[in-house]
Each structure stands twice: as structure tokens, then as C-alpha cells.
Symmetry: C2
Subunit: 237 residues, 2 copies
């Protein structure tokens, strides 16, 4: 298929795309200021100097607007992590690991409301698929590639997990479907760490670490380093 997004169709299409972009931009600004609950379609229409009903030519509902913001947030986070990871020496697994983790946390701290949008409570009656699923995997992809590289280099989890048969089956399926050469054990451990990573970020962002941890950045780095050791990627291979 040819790409309809870059095709220079009529002038009308161009101003439509431009206006769509302006709507999402001001919506994102409102989101960053007041959060998802405070995002008002009328307010962004007002700021753009147009009637609220006109916005419905571009987004069929408020939730549709939110959905594009969700996709954008996933992309923004994924891009930040990819950029950070690409800047470090590819052979240094532990540094790549740390770069991904740090940039995920950094992005979350810089865009708390957008982070809440994608890792917080699902918005309405919950409808993710299907546009959101692809961008959502970007950071996961990064971690997956990392442990695939690690395994190819002979790294192994520092502590071999015991898994039920169904879990082994799930891990195999997942690796196949992602096209990654990763053993069930390694995948299992890194899945747990994936949850831990975003659990740490979520706890910090949503206030669960108040009166618990003071030096957040150091604590986070220490935890990530500990995870790297458990992944067996801290030593040379």
C-alpha cells in the first residue's frame, strides 16, 4: 500500500491534518496541566477559537481524542527509551539496561499525566485495541532484544526460576510470537522485572514511596542494578 499520510492530496486534506494536529497539541497541553479527568473538549475548542461542535468533525468523541493521546504517549515514551538505548555501546548490556530503565523513569517524571494515561487506570470502559497495541510494545521490544542479545552471548539468569508447565508454554508462545530467541526461563525472569520496573515508577509517581524512600533516583538505580545482576548481564560475557 502507498502511504496516504504523506501523499499530497487536496488542499483541504492538508488543512484538515493541520487542524487535527493543533487539536491534539492543545489537548496534550491541557492534559499535561490538568490530567485526563480535567481534559475538556469544549475547553480546547475554546482555546482554538472554534465551536465545540466543530471538533466533532475531527474526533467522534472525547474518548477518541484521549485514545490518540494514549498512542502518542506510548510513542513518546518508546522514542525516548530507544534514543537513550541507542546512544550507549551496544555490547554493554548492563548499560543498555540501565539506559532504558532510567529514560523510562525520566520520561514518566517529565510527563506524569501522560504516564498515568498509559500505565494508570484505563480510561472509560476500557478499549485498548487495536491502534494502541503496536506503539505499546516499543519499550517492551527494547527489553526483549536486550535479553535476546544477553542469551546469545551466554548470559543466564543468576537464579533459575521454576515454572509450571502452562507458564513454560506461555513463555514459548510469547517468544515465538515476538520472533525472539529467548529461553522460557530468561523470558519469565525479565517479565517479572518488567512488572517491577513499572511498579517502581508507578509507586514513585503515584506517591506510594512518600515517607518510604527519600533518595528516589539513587534507590531506583540501585534496584535496576540489582535487576541487572539477577539477569546475569552485569558481568562480562
Amino acid at each position: 500500500m502507498d502511504s496516504p499520510t504523506t501523499a499530497p492530496k487536496s488542499a483541504r486534506r492538508m488543512v484538515r491534518e493541520e487542524l487535527t494536529r493543533r487539536i491534539t497539541d492543545t489537548a496534550r497541553a491541557h492534559l499535561a496541566r490538568s490530567g485526563a479527568a480535567g481534559l475538556s473538549l469544549r475547553a480546547v475548542a475554546r482555546e482554538l477559537g472554534m465551536a465545540s461542535s466543530a471538533v466533532y468533525r475531527y474526533f467522534p468523541s472525547r474518548d477518541a481524542l484521549l485514545t490518540t493521546l494514549i498512542v502518542d504517549a506510548y510513542d513518546s515514551l518508546g522514542e525516548a527509551c530507544e534514543a537513550a538505548e541507542s546512544r550507549v555501546e551496544r555490547r554493554d548490556l548492563a548499560l543498555r539496561h540501565l539506559a532504558i530503565a532510567r529514560s523510562a523513569r525520566g520520561w514518566a517524571l517529565e510527563h506524569p499525566h501522560e504516564y498515568a494515561l498509559i500505565y494508570g487506570t484505563p480510561v472509560p470502559g476500557y478499549q485498548a485495541p487495536p491502534d494502541t497495541v503496536d506503539p505499546a510494545t516499543r519499550v517492551t521490544r527494547l527489553l526483549l532484544d536486550l535479553i535476546a542479545d544477553a542469551e546469545a552471548r551466554g548470559c543466564r539468569p543468576a537464579f533459575t526460576p521454576e515454572m509450571s508447565e502452562s507458564t513454560v508454554h506461555d513463555m514459548r508462545n510469547l517468544a515465538d510470537q515476538a520472533g525472539a530467541r529467548v529461553s522460557p526461563a530468561y523470558l519469565f525472569v525479565s517479565l517479572g522485572q518488567w512488572a517491577q520496573l513499572f511498579g517502581l515508577i508507578t509507586f514513585e509517581l503515584f506517591g506510594q514511596f512518600n515517607n518510604v524512600v527519600e533518595s528516589r533516583a539513587e534507590f531506583f538505580d540501585d534496584q535496576v542494578r540489582h535487576m541487572a545482576r539477577l539477569l546475569g548481564i552485569l558481568e562480562e560475557h
Copy 2:
């Protein structure tokens, strides 16, 4: 101090408490059905057959109502975990660990909206303190006591973490403030696992495991067992 909640004051107080309870009850029912975003003060007033303005005699704002629901949710979760943990042989550390984790997950699956209320996106401009902090620590308390018992029995983390000075300091502070005899290393590891535990539950509940893990319960149990091994509580001591 004497307890003013049980004191048989005037008849008016009693009907007030009763009505307050009925409001929170129907509010909780609405919450369970439509989530926090769909909780309407007018709707619960309607269901109770009273004017919406009358509800404001009992709760100064919608957020105040939500706050009590948050406290209740923390208590409900804490109670469920405590009950489950108290039912197992106290010497069996791994089983206590599993009981806490499983009941936390079970409660979350049974009360998804209430779970989202306490571990999802913070409601408005975020205001937790101070009534919420105490019930929020109940399940944390359980885990803390568990590792304190473990350490007293000679258990040690299977993998000793390396920590920065500030983290060691934070861990010492936290142990002191909680009045628990736990080494910084042990506390550090269990804090990470705490984040992992609720990260796993949140991911499962919020759909991050769609197309990733099929047998959720088995996967969860396997992860929890792996955590127990890393805590060094799976073997006898």
C-alpha cells in the same frame, strides 16, 4: 481517649451515621459498576431518594466521598490479606508469603475498580494525607513482619544487593520508623518485590498482559514463588 464512634450520643447522631453509611454503600456499589469516573453524587442521591444538595450535609464534595471509598478500599484489601495470612501456619514463611500475594491478587480481581482507586491514577490534583496513609500500610505491614520473622530465623536474600549509601540510609530510616528489625539489604529486596507484586497485579488488571500471558493465575504463582526463593524463605531454617 474514649471512642466517640461507639458512644450512644443523641438519636440524631445515629441516623446521621446510618445515612452516612448508606451513602457510602450505594456509592461503593456505583463505583463497582461504573468506576471512579462514572461515580455521580447526584445518582447516589437519586437512588437514595434524597435531593442532591442534601448529600452535601454528609460529604463536602465528591472527592471527599471518593476519599472515604479509598480508605475503605485500603481497609478491605488489608483485611483480606490479613485474614488469609492468619489462616496459615505461622512458621511456614513461604506459605504466608504466598497467601498474602494471592489474596492481594484475588481481592484486586474481585474489586477491580476499587483496586484502580488505590493503585491506579490518583484521583484529582492528588491529595492523600492523612487519613489514607494508615490503612494503606496494612498489607505493607504484613510483608514487613514476614521478612522480619525471616531474618530473625536466619533467612537471607538469595542474592545480596549492592546499595548506595543514601539507599542504605533510607532503608535504615524506614526500618526504624516502622519499628521493624530488618537489615537494609533485606528491606531493599523486599521493597523491590513489593513493587513487583503490585506491578504484576496492575499489569494483569489493566490489560498489559493481554496477548502476553494466558494462564494468569499460574504465571502469578510462579512469579511469587520465584520471589520467595530470592527472599530465601522457600527453604527451611
